[in-house]
Assembly symmetry: C2
Homo-oligomer: 209 residues x 2
Amino acid sequence: MANVQVLSKGEQTRERLMDIAQDAVLNKGFAGTSIDEIIAEAGITKSGFFYHFRDKNDLAKAMLQRYLDNEWKVFEQLFQQADELSEDPLHSFLIFLKLFADMMGDLPNGHPGCLVASYVYQDFLFSRDVRNMTTEGHQIWRTRFRERLDRIAERYPAKIDVNLDDMADMLSSVADGGIILSKSLHDPSILPKQILQYRAYVKLVFAGA
Amino acid sequence: MANVQVLSKGEQTRERLMDIAQDAVLNKGFAGTSIDEIIAEAGITKSGFFYHFRDKNDLAKAMLQRYLDNEWKVFEQLFQQADELSEDPLHSFLIFLKLFADMMGDLPNGHPGCLVASYVYQDFLFSRDVRNMTTEGHQIWRTRFRERLDRIAERYPAKIDVNLDDMADMLSSVADGGIILSKSLHDPSILPKQILQYRAYVKLVFAGA
DNA sequence: CCGGTACAGTACTTGTGGTACAGTTCGCAG
DNA sequence: CTGCGAACTGTACCACAAGTACTGTACCGG
């Protein structure tokens, strides 16, 4: 809210272009999204578009960077919230997962789609640096979740033999897969339910039944 | 193998066109895949292409149908194999998951991508009937896995309160998400590992630690 | 009042999907 | 051996959309 005011007119237009483009890309793919339709919806000319982005790949890069930054902020905020509610690493992580599931369930029209997943399924369209960004995004998430699981495992020895990297990856898997299922079955409630399945797994592994 | 011999020359070409198209679609998206490049790689003319497919949407539909049929057959085969190795519904399902993970791990270059997931992220490009096919595909898989879980739950009461539809969906989630992670991180071993995480969850829920 | 921001206008090239239709090769049924 | 249909090739064409390039201009703050 207060952030919007700080943006200059140019930055506002740029954000708006990315909003429109992201929505289109998540529904039609990157190649299926034309610059013409973006500028038509934004009420701007093609020249205006190319003032903000060198080319289409530049738009893709800027969109992805923004998406990754946003996701990062959301996770940071939820982790912080959870940490304030419990000192215990396991309880905090379980609270985090609940908050995450709730947030995903509260999206009015369901999750619009993961831009990273979308890019992965069209990676040949993008330059190397954009492709590296999707890879690094997933690596960062793995590390971030893994840290939490390490702290949990210290205090709560796992009931079964389990690789914590795989377990960390599973949250990304379940989220990406849950989004796909939600979209495909037109049921926004699937994503939060899938996150809660993961939560149940974590609970079983570290706390037992 | 023996199946190939049965195909007429036209059917072989049609299959070849779909092979090429599917590979391209999984890497560049549907809109990013041009008919021209498909026919160039197939060594055929545009007329030849339109002899086999009415238009591009017809190709999309045929590809998806073939993909769904194949997946169905693979699962049927693995289920049958597992059933032969154990009469017990839980053990059979766990064997199935192990076989499934092994199969995904044995793919030489990793899983090429799930066509259904790819379509879901570009569903506005397709006609309604194609979109319905992705929905029905996921519904069928849910039902299919749910049946197994029902039979398991009869004999092994779940250790925790769990919704079996969600648990059935989780296999699709983890598979779709695992494929994305494998592609993004350029590590084919992630997908089988994710399936085994799901297997561990099922085991914990019904058999305990 | 000057200069940069933030665009608008115009012109052009290439690619792509799709249509149309006439011709050709080849295996195989009769 | 022949004719017929399957499985294409060749050629020509169209509308239109993406993307590039460059020039022009309104507006706003210092």
